[in-house]
Every structure is written in structure tokens, then in C-alpha cells.
Amino acid sequence: MKLRIKITKDAGIRFISHLEYVRTIERAIRRAKLPVAYSEGFNPHMKFSLASALGVGVTSEAEFVEIELAEEIDLPSTMIKLAVNLPTGIRILAADLADTKADKLMAQAGGADYKVVVPCREDCNWQAAVDRFNEAESVLFQKPIPKGRGMTKEIEVKSFIDHLEAERAGDNLQLTFSCKITPTGSMKAAELLLVLRDSFELPLLVEKADILRTDLYAVDKDGKKMPLLKPEYIA
């Protein structure tokens, strides 16, 4: 049996790293005494994983944890036990139970939605820039290779993010968009901001961007969003 939980990474803890987030959940699971399956061997580790890594500084309303269980559990009471053992920056939104052999959520995730609020100079024609992005056939970006010592690889932005919505809110521009996750990779929301600033002359204060992942989901053959969890438990 696998327990799958949808949780948040709230603003207060946005700056903990992915590894720190994983360790934090692991310790909460231990405190809540969930009957988790462990790997064999001298250094047994808990069998659990996250569906998708989130960049440091990004908040999320859609993180997914997948935990292999050693015994059956009662979903509602287990979720209450876990909730009290999580730090304030992590809330449980939903959960379900699935067969151990079910596809890993990591493999199922096909896309993520984002909402970005970013300061943008007032005297700019932001609408025109956004229109140009939406109409462009191809937008290329030199994506840094992780630990690549400044080396980059060229990616096609439009294959991940086809369209974005924008509106002005005071000094800020609010952008909403969907970003595809493919077996070969994806693109970070922060990278899109760099593209808009550097290739579309949008005067964004990228360092001050407040990025929120609003959803993570599977995508079916027709490109339709499919929820990752069955609606078994809603907090």
C-alpha cells in the first residue's frame, strides 16, 4: 500500500532547500509513527519520495509525497497525526491510498501551474511583450547545466510554456502559466522570468519575484489536466 499526500510549502519556509524539505517530512513521519516500509540493508532508509523538486525560494500549494507503508492505515486519523507533527510551513491538503505497484507520482507528473508576482517598472509596455511571447513560434533559452561550471544547454521555452496570462497589480506584474514536465526535463518559473527580461525587454525585478506553484498534475493523451490523487481525503 502506498500513501500519497498533497502538501504545501508555505512562504515562511520557502527558503529551505529540497533536501531540507525531504528531511523535514521524513522526521515528521517518524514523529507521527506512520508504519513506513524501510529498505533492507545496514543503513535502512524510509521508502518515500516527492513527485517533483521545487526551487529554493518558491512556495507551493501542490507538493506530493508518496510513502510506502508496511501495514494498513486509517486515512483520516493518520492524516491528523501527521498534521500535528509537521512544522507550520507545511500543511496537508489531501491524501489517498494506492497500490504499491501504481506508477510513481514522479513519473506521472506532466505539468505544473504557476502564479508569479514580480515588480515591473510602470513605464513599460508589458502587454506588448507578453503578446509577443505568446505569438512567438520559437523562444530559445540557454539553460545552465547543473554543476556544469557555467556551461549551458539550449532549450525551447515554447515546448514547456506555450502561453502566459499577465495583469498589472500596482507596482507588480502578475503572471500565470502552465509549464510542461517531460521525461527529459522541465523548466523553472524563474527561468521564464529571465527569458522575459532578457529576450522580451520586460523590465522585471527578477530577484524580487514571488513564485507560487499552484498545481501539479498528470496530463492525458489529449493534453487534459488530470489530478494526481483520487479524492479520498480532503483536509
Partner: protein, 624 residues
């Protein structure tokens, strides 16, 4: 929720989670629940400060008190400090984001002398006037505790008062005194509060004392200038470790900290009497917790933290009288939950190796032993009651059990040390290597020799002794380096310029406050981190104040010299320390009073306390 630094700043610094709080177990009280606020300030970076057990204890004890809110703050790393100064952002607490200036108390811990510049830097970033005399009724009281308070004099200008000794009880008395003063409407301002707290045993208010100096710079006398101030401030000590509260729901950080595990304190104090050891002298006497209590605390700690490792901590855990049964019981209870037990240090004997075998049943990482000196003569000088035979038995047992890597800790620069004593370190390391061949029939044991340079500390028998000069230490390091050019022996040492400044401040006086201030003004901070330490900056700061480093560090003192720290007392008598110093010159040993006869250090009668050893007293409850 906490007030946080802006996104753009946090996204540009290393390890931003150091600054954002919100860890599981942190306690945030509302303004209505906060009558008295105190921020526990650790003058080093988050990962170091979060590993400090003393603050876990005080955080817990203080927050248990009604109306008291204890929060935390750490020294921002240099990248963050630059951003804060650039954007005029003050230093704030982890819990509520309150600026240091707005607390009632800012409490620093003095763990090592080289953190003192960070204290000034944190006060400055927290918008608090650096000098006590410049603070007004609007400012918090800046207080300090910890091991370095047994000579707090270099910080006398900056700290309003010091807490001497163990903090569990006195910190509550202090909070009560503040509440009382507050309920009366804070009459008389700061100076009246100081008059009140000085009546609490264990509180030292430096401004209530004047120091007079002789023409040669030594102390002539230290005299109280306030009728309420006691002539001598004795340390506070908890009589029975079984009756005070120990935190069982400590904060669990997000990121990895230095000691990222449960720390369970098994006892306090150590009476082995190593003559170089400050902790061994100032934390007397030995007081053990009952094994039954420790097992209960371990259970609660595992349940509340989710950690999978428990470290049994103390000054010398292998000396805990009921250790073997305790470890056995803990392992039995916690194995299923994948919780392991670890020991921070081992004694040089085969008993310790057996324990190590039990606690790390699987992983065969290296074992570490601390013979401290290479020759038997030198080990007698320092009263390290360990023989070469003990070491050979210990490493022999380790090699028989499958270990092949051993680390040995030594000190150089010890009193009366000759070149033969230095070379004996190399001989001992080679003997350990040969032992591996004898035991296993193979060559190739890996031996690491780690050497630090000795710094004489106040309230040790060597407080009269001059420290080796940096030139002499370097010569000895090279001598040993040459002697250790042997395959599979690694020699670790580091340039000892930091220990020179440590030595100056360890036995320094109030006049050094000026040098501290100057060095800080010229950029000194994180002096314990070699990449930030500038020896020339320190030498200039000291000499620009008309002071001489050799006067403090390298000078032998006379039998009757008055030391700057003698009005603060850990209660070991001066006569005992002098006698120990004389015995060291005669290479005579003193036995551990815990099992042998009383060594007459004076602590028990002076403080009305006694040794608590469960086995000696027939309370071997863990046996069953």
C-alpha cells in the same frame, strides 16, 4: 508569522534557511503572553549555535515560565551581514522577527574567546549601544553566561552582568526579579535593576567593581564600588541533575547542523583532574542522572523529535557509572525504530572499545582516542592517567574487532615539554601502527595524529604558566612533521596564530576591552573561522591600546600574583590549583576523587554539593 527578510536578499545568500525560523518545536508566544522577553544569542553561525545544548535547556526552561518569551538569534554569516548593512536591516530574532534592541534581555553564551568580536557585531547589528555605560532605559540588558565567564573581564565594558555557573535555576530567579521590578513600574531605571540583581547569588555586575593595576601592569586589587556587590561571586550549581527539567521537545532544524541528533546529557562535571582542562576544573563536581530517568528522557526525545540517533553527552561519557547497561537497554528498546546510539568520545581503554563495538554494530568508521601527550613523563605532568599499555590495549581491542583506522589527539606546547616529548608522539603513533601488524598480521593501519597547541586557561593548575610563543610552537610542529613522514600516518595540525589570541583573552583583563573594540571596528568577526581571522589586525589592535600580547599569553606568573578573574569563583581553591601545578612539575599524579580519595579541590564544601555516582552509591538500577 515571523517578519522575514525580503525575497531578493534571501535568494542571494548562502543557506537562507539560517535566517527564516519556523522550525518544528520553536516556540512563538503572543504579545499578550509576553511580559518579559529574552533573546538567547549565540555568537556564531546558525549550524553551530543550534547544536549547543545549553541554549536548548535554557530555551525550554524560560519558555515554560508564564509570561516569559525566550527567542533565538545567531550571528549572520558575512554575506548576510553585508546585505543587512547595505539595506539598513537590523538583526532580528528567529521567532518573532523582533529587533534585538526591543528585547528586555539579550543573553549571549561565551563558548570560546574567539567569538567575542561576534558579540560586538551582533549588538551593533541589533541596534544596541556597544558599551554598557552608553545604554539607556530604552535598551535591553546585555547579559552573558557559559564557560568563559570564569574570566569575563575582557568583556566587562560591554556586558551589563554575567551569570556565573549553571543556568537552570538562576535564569528563572532573574526573570522573577524582572517581573517584580516591572510590576512596580520599573522604579529607578537600569541602575536600580542592577542593584537588585546583584543580590542574586551567581550574578556578577562588572561595573560594580574597580580594578587597580601595579606599575608593571599586573592587578593590584579588585574592589567592589557598590555596597551590594559581593567581594567574590561564586558559581551556581545544580545539586541534583535528577530534579531539574531537561528539554524533551527541542527544536528540530530543517537543515543539517553540526550536531544533528538528540543530545542526552548523562552527567555534569568530571573529576579526572587533567591539569590542562578548564571544563574539568570549572564544572565540578560529578553529578549523574539516574539510568531510569535517562531512559525515560530518551523515549520522549525520540518520540518528539523524529531523530534517529542519540548521542550520550557529557565531559567524559565512558565514565558514566552505569553506561554499559544503559546502552544495552537503549539499543534494545530503540533498535526496531532504527534509532542508533553514539558516544562523542572514548576513553583510552578496551572497555570503551567494547562499547563502541556495541553502539556501531555495523559501520566501522575510525575510532578516536586522546592520549593528549606522547611520553609517559608528559602524561604525568598533565595528570592524564593513561599509560602506553592502556593505549595499546585499546587499539589492540579495536584492531581485533575489525577497525583499521585510528585517530589520536595530542597537544603540544604543554608545560615543561622537551623535544623528546614531542618525538614521543611520533613513536607512539608508530607503535600503534605496529600493534595492528601484531594483531592482524597485516600492515596498513591508518593512523591520524591530530595535534593542537595548548592554551593555558584560568582556574586550571597551569594558570600560572606562560604559553609557548608562536615561533616555538611552529618549531615543534615542524619537528613532529619530520618525525611523522611515515606511510599511512597522517599528521594534522594548523597554524597556531588563533591560539595566541585565544591565550591573550583567556587570561586577559579589562583593558583588553579596548583592543576588542578596535579589532571589531577594523573588521574582526568570526575569528574562530581561520578564513576570517587576521593575526596582524589583532596584533595591531592590541599594541595600539598600549598592551602587550606576551604579557598576557607568554609570561610565567608568580605564586602570589593576583589574577584579574579571582573575584569570580568556580569554587576550586587557589591552594589546590597551586599544589596541582607543583605536583605537575614533580610529574606526580592525583587520583580521581570520584573513586579514590578527596583531592581537596574545595568545590563540595564551598558550594555545599556532593558527587553523585549511581554505582558508587549502590544505585545500579540499570542492572537487570
Amino acid at each position: 508569522m515571523t517578519k522575514q527578510f525580503p525575497i531578493d536578499i534571501l535568494s542571494q545568500v548562502q543557506k537562507p534557511a539560517r535566517y527564516t525560523g519556523g522550525e518544528f518545536g520553536s516556540i512563538i508566544k503572543t504579545a499578550e503572553d509576553t511580559k518579559v522577553s529574552i533573546v538567547l544569542a549565540f555568537p556564531d553561525v546558525y549550524e553551530v549555535g543550534m547544536s549547543y545544548l545549553g541554549f536548548k535547556i535554557l530555551y525550554h526552561i524560560l519558555n515554560k515560565e508564564e509570561g516569559v518569551a525566550a527567542e533565538r538569534v545567531y550571528a549572520p554569516w558575512v554575506d548576510m551581514e553585508a546585505k543587512m548593512r547595505e539595506n539598513a536591516l537590523p538583526l532580528t530574532s528567529q521567532e518573532t522577527g523582533k529587533t534585538l534592541r526591543d528585547f528586555d534581555f539579550v543573553g549571549f553564551t561565551l563558548q570560546y574567546e574567539l567569538s567575542y568580536t561576534n558579540i560586538l557585531n551582533m549588538l551593533d547589528l541589533g541596534q544596541i549601544p556597544l558599551f554598557s555605560k552608553e545604554r539607556t532605559d530604552e535598551d535591553p540588558f546585555v547579559i552573558a553566561g557559559g564557560p568563559c565567564v570564569y574570566n569575563p573581564e575582557p568583556l566587562a565594558d560591554f556586558v551589563d552582568f554575567f551569570i556565573i555557573g549553571e543556568g537552570e535555576e538562576i535564569i528563572v530567579e532573574l526573570m522573577d526579579a524582572y517581573k517584580q521590578w516591572q510590576s512596580e513600574g520599573l522604579p529607578g531605571g537600569r541602575s536600580e535593576f542592577l542593584q537588585r540583581v546583584v543580590r542574586i547569588d551567581g550574578i556578577y555586575v562588572p561595573s560594580f567593581y574597580d580594578v587597580e593595576y601595579l606599575p608593571d601592569g599586573k592587578v593590584a586589587k579588585v574592589k567592589a564600588n557598590n555596597p551590594m556587590a559581593p567581594a567574590v561571586v561564586k558559581k551556581r550549581v545544580v545539586k541534583d541533575m535528577n530534579t531539574i527539567s531537561f528539554p524533551t521537545a527541542p527544536i528540530v532544524p530543517f537543515g543539517e547542523i553540526v550536531h544533528d541528533r538528540i543530545m542526552l546529557e548523562v552527567f555534569r562535571g568530571c573529576t579526572r583532574g587533567c591539569r590542562f582542562c578548564h571544563a574539568g576544573m570549572v564544572y565540578r563536581p560529578v553529578r549523574e542522572r539516574k539510568p531510569e530517568l535517562l531512559k525515560q528522557l530518551a523515549r520522549e526525545l525520540v518520540d518528539n523529535t523524529g531523530y534517529n540517533e542519540i548521542s550520550l553527552v557529557s565531559l567524559s561519557t565512558a565514565d558514566y557509572s552505569c553506561l554499559a547497561p544503559l546502552i544495552h537497554d537503549l539499543i534494545t528498546e530503540l533498535k526496531e525504530e532504527k534509532v542508533s546510539i553514539s558516544l562523542p568520545s572514548l576513553r583510552v581503554d578496551s572497555f570503551s572499545v567494547d562499547l563502541a563495538k556495541e553502539v556501531q554494530a555495523v559501520r566501522k568508521s575510525g575510532l578516536t582516542f586522546a592520549p593528549e601527550a606522547g611520553s609517559q613523563r608528559m602524561r604525568n605532568v598533565i595528570n592524564k592517567g593513561v599509560t602506553e599499555e592502556d593505549l595499546m590495549n585499546a587499539v589492540g581491542a579495536a584492531f581485533e574487532s575489525g577497525w583499521s583506522t585510528v585517530k589520536l589527539y595530542f597537544m603540544i606546547g604543554l608545560p615543561g615539554e622537551t623535544d623528546e616529548d614531542i618525538l614521543a608522539i611520533a613513536e607512539l603513533a608508530k607503535a600503534v601502527q605496529y600493534k595492528y601488524f601484531q594483531v592482524t598480521g597485516h600492515r596498513g593501519a591508518k593512523v591520524t595524529v591530530s595535534v593542537s597547541s595548548f592554551v593555558p586557561k584560568p582556574y586550571t593548575p597551569f594558570q600560572w604558566k606562560g604559553q609557548d610563543t608562536i615561533e616555538e610552537i611552529r618549531r615543534k610542529q615542524m619537528l613532529l612533521k619530520d618525525a611523522l613522514k611515515v606511510k599511512n600516518i597522517t599528521y594534522q595540525y594548523h597554524d597556531s596564530v588563533t591560539s595566541v589570541i585565544e591565550g591573550v583573552f583567556a587570561r586577559g583583563d579589562r583593558r583588553l576591552g579596548k583592543a576588542l573594540y578596535l579589532a571589531w571596528q577594523r573588521g574582526a568577526k568570526f575569528d574562530g573561522w581561520s578564513e576570517h581571522f587576521s593575526y596582524s589586525r589583532w596584533l595591531e589592535a592590541i599594541s595600539d591600546c598600549g598592551l602587550d600580547k606576551a604579557f598576557y599569553a607568554n609570561r610565567d606568573r608568580d605564586i602570589d600574583e593576583i589574577f584579574p578573574w579571582e573575584h569570580i569563583q568556580p569554587a576550586v581553591s587557589r591552594a589546590f590549583l597551586w599544589n596541582e601545578y607543583q605536583k605537575s612539575l614533580r610529574e606526580e599524579l592525583t587520583e580521581d576523587c570520584r573513586h579514590g580519595k578527596c583531592s581537596g579541590c574545595g568545590v563540595c564544601p564551598n558550594l555545599d554539593v556532593k558527587i553523585i555516582d549511581w554505582k558508587e552509591q549502590g544505585h545500579d538500577e540499570a542492572k537487570n
